[in-house]
Chain length 194, copies 2
C-alpha cells in the first residue's frame, strides 16, 4: 500500500534549493533594474553562482522570472491600498494610490517593461499580479463611488490604463509633475456630472 495520501506525501523542499531561488531573485531584480527586461539570463545565473540549468528549473521562462521579481512589488502596492483605504477619505485614497502606482512603475522600470511585454503577446503571465492590482483599484473606486465623489459609470480599469501610460512615458525630467497633473485631470473627469 502507498502512504496515507494518494499524493506521494511530498518531501519538504531542500534548503539549498530555497537559498538558490532567493539568490537568483535578488540578482535578477538588480539585473532587470540595471539592464531592463532583456538582461541576459545566463549572466544572472552566473552572478547568482548557479548554472543556467538551475535558473531555468526555478523559472522556466524569462517571463516567469520577471513575474516573480514583479510580484513582491505588486504585493506592496496592494498593501498600500489597504492602508490608504483605512486612513483617508475615499477620493484622497484613490488619488494617493494612483500617484503611488505611477511612482512605483516609473521608478522600477521592471514593472513597466513587464506590463509592456504582456501587451505584445497574449501570454497568460502576470495574470495573478494583474488581478491583485485590479482588485486594489476596483476597491478604491467602488468606495469613492459610494461616497458620491465619483461618477457611477466609471470603470476602474480605464483609470489603470491611463496610469500605465503616464508611467510609460516617464523619461522626461518633470514626469513627477506631469503624473500629478494627469492624476488630477483623471480625478476631475471622474467626478459626477451633476
Amino acid at each position: 500500500m502507498a502512504t496515507k495520501r494518494s499524493q506521494p506525501a511530498a518531501r519538504k523542499p531542500r534548503a539549498d534549493a530555497q537559498r538558490n531561488r532567493e539568490r537568483i531573485l535578488e540578482v535578477a531584480k538588480a539585473a532587470f533594474t540595471e539592464f531592463g527586461a532583456n538582461a541576459s539570463l545566463d549572466d544572472i545565473a552566473k552572478q547568482a553562482d548557479v548554472g543556467p540549468g538551475t535558473l531555468y528549473r526555478h523559472f522556466p521562462t524569462r517571463d516567469a522570472l520577471l513575474e516573480a521579481v514583479y510580484r513582491t512589488e505588486v504585493e506592496r502596492l496592494a498593501a498600500a491600498e489597504r492602508t490608504f483605504a483605512e486612513t483617508m477619505p475615499p477620493v484622497e485614497a484613490l488619488r494617493a494610490w494612483m500617484l503611488l502606482f505611477v511612482d512605483y512603475i516609473a521608478t522600477k522600470k521592471i514593472i513597466a517593461a513587464a506590463l509592456n511585454t504582456v501587451v505584445g503577446d497574449p501570454s497568460k503571465v502576470f495574470e495573478s499580479c494583474h488581478a491583485q492590482i485590479w482588485e486594489a483599484i476596483r476597491s478604491l473606486v467602488t468606495r469613492a463611488i459610494q461616497s458620491g465623489d465619483i461618477r457611477e459609470d466609471l470603470d476602474p480599469i480605464d483609470l489603470l490604463r491611463a496610469l500605465i501610460g503616464v508611467a510609460n512615458v516617464s523619461t522626461s525630467p518633470d514626469w513627477q509633475q506631469s503624473a500629478r497633473r494627469l492624476v488630477d485631470i483623471l480625478i476631475a473627469g471622474s467626478r459626477p456630472v451633476k
Copy 2:
C-alpha cells in the same frame, strides 16, 4: 578640380536599391504586425529576397527599421489633425483625434511596441516621429484652450501619455468602448474649473 560643389555631387540612388528598400519595408510591416516587434530580421530579409547584409545596410538597427515602418503611420495621424482642425469645433476635433490615435496604435501594435521600446533605453530614435505627434496634439489643445473649452494649464503631453496607456492595454475585447470612455473622462477633466 573637383566638381562645382564641395560635396561630391551625390549620384542619384540606384534603382534596385530603392526597390529593395521598399520591399523590405513592406515585408517588415507585415512581419512586425504578425509577430510583434521581435520578428526575426534575418527572416524579414529572406522574405524580401535580400541578404541580411542588405537589410542591415538600409536599416542599421532594429529600431531604424521599426521607425521607418512607423513613420508613414505617424504621417497619417498628423494629416488627420489638420483635417479635423479645419472641419470641427475645437473640442470635437481634439476628441476625434484622440480616438483616432488610440485606434491607430491599438490596431497597429507595431507603434505601441515602438513606443514601448523607447521607454526601455534612452535612445534617440523616433524622435522626429514624436515631434510630429506632439505638434499635432499641441495644436489641437491650444485651439481648444483659446476657444475657452479647455482649461489653460493643460499640458498636451499629459494627454498623450494617458492615451498611450489606453492603447497599450488594448487586449481586452471591449477596448474600443474603454478607450471612448477614457477619452471622455480626460476631456471632462480638462474642462475649465469654472
